[in-house]
């Protein structure tokens, strides 16, 4: 019954590394989202995509980029990881229109 899968549960990376977070959904949805979650700040939208090769900035896109080459896969890229990007990252895929959103299991990234 898996719907949204993130490639890693836990990651530890060094400052300056290029980091890829992968998200795959099996629901044939057009829309996919990346959030980060930090204590006291809630969930904040980084980027979203509404179709293959289409992307839009969310509320906090600085320091991130994304890639959507195939419909089922949405990648979040940290070009040069920094310690302030240590966070929980959550991928989501809502259905068409205003319907239920499904989340991946989350990736807890630590940048040292």
């Amino acid at each position: 019954d898996v719907k949204v899968t993130q490639s890693s549960r836990y990651l530890v990376k060094r400052t300056g590394e290029k980091v890829f977070l992968e998200c795959v959904q099996d629901m044939d949805h057009e829309n996919m989202f990346w959030y980060r979650q930090d204590p006291g700040l809630g969930l904040r939208l980084i980027y979203f995509s509404y179709d293959v090769k289409m992307k839009e900035k969310g509320d906090i896109p600085e320091g991130y980029s994304v890639s959507r080459e195939k419909k089922e896969r949405f990648s979040l890229i940290l070009e040069s990881a920094s310690t302030n990007q240590t966070s929980m990252y959550l991928c989501a895929s809502p259905g068409p229109g205003e319907t239920e959103a499904f989340f991946g299991q989350g990736t807890r990234l630590t940048v040292v």
Binding site: G42, L45, Y50, L90, A92, P94, E98, T99, A101, Q105
Partner: protein, 106 residues
Amino acid sequence: GIQVEQSPPDLILQEGANSTLRCNFSDSVNNLQWFHQNPWGQLINLFYIPSGTKQNGRLSATTVATERYSLLYISSSQTTDSGVYFCAVAGFKTIFGAGTRLFVKA
């Protein structure tokens, strides 16, 4: 944009107690979702409830869209219910409340 507010922000229960979590939203919506985030960080879908009442075991939810609120009821709470409960206005850009952090003590 739509504002989503949850109360209470924190809640401590004795195992076996019942509780009600509230979610208010600032504008008319035709969708509302409740999530439970477990201690490992995963967001679990509890209810997709644009209106009316749904029940799933010890949990139930009611949304009164015309009055812009939703309630999540937890009955006979268990320690495994601990975690953070979010309501969200589901859709293209899902908008979350700040969450209610629940701790159920044995």
